[in-house]
Symmetry: C2
Subunit: 135 residues, 2 copies
Amino acid sequence: MFTLHPTLERDSLPIVEDDDLVLRLINDARYPWVIIVPKVPDIRELHELSEPMFDKIMALVRHVGGVMTTAFAADKINTAAIGNMVPQLHIHIVARREDDAAWPAPVWGVGEMQPLEQGEVTRRVSCIRDGLGLS
Amino acid sequence: MFTLHPTLERDSLPIVEDDDLVLRLINDARYPWVIIVPKVPDIRELHELSEPMFDKIMALVRHVGGVMTTAFAADKINTAAIGNMVPQLHIHIVARREDDAAWPAPVWGVGEMQPLEQGEVTRRVSCIRDGLGLS
């Protein structure tokens, strides 16, 4: 049985979900930042995914990267599966700009998260859903 | 025409190469760390890869992650395409241990690289080549 890890639940907001995965927006005003979490219990590593699930997750990584580049005028997309602290496989996709709070460093472990205002949550979620062709 | 970026050339050593990609060992004693560089000129982003090339690169990411877990008794694999500073698409795969120099932080931008001794280069390259089933 899959349950979203409480840290990921606390730090993120739903964008879309299906039987295999959840896509969520990290609640941080500093960067447009999403995570994809495969609904597979008890795995930490990309290579622990079955091949079909790996292919599905990676296809979404590719799609979301393109969507976020356009939607947020990103200078660079940063994609990563790290998970040293949260032991549930999750893949980060972050739209970076050369004037953002951490550039050119990666975002992980830099400063404090800045919660989004509700209007900006709605705007970011809509941009990503629209880009993915969801209604 | 593809040419390996000079920073990646300087910081890494060859493991294996084919028509589509190079797999190289980062010259840093602190962690077993490799990069995969698709031989595609002038791209910075995963989503700029063609679908067949993306699939091939990702299949190798998956394979190498499993191999490095076993070969280096990794507690966690960290996988990332960042590229904020080096503008040539490259994917990092790092075998992390809970007692390594940066744990639990990501490795990027932490401390100074520590060049490998030749014996350790040979050992790491052999472990990875053997794990991948290369002679």
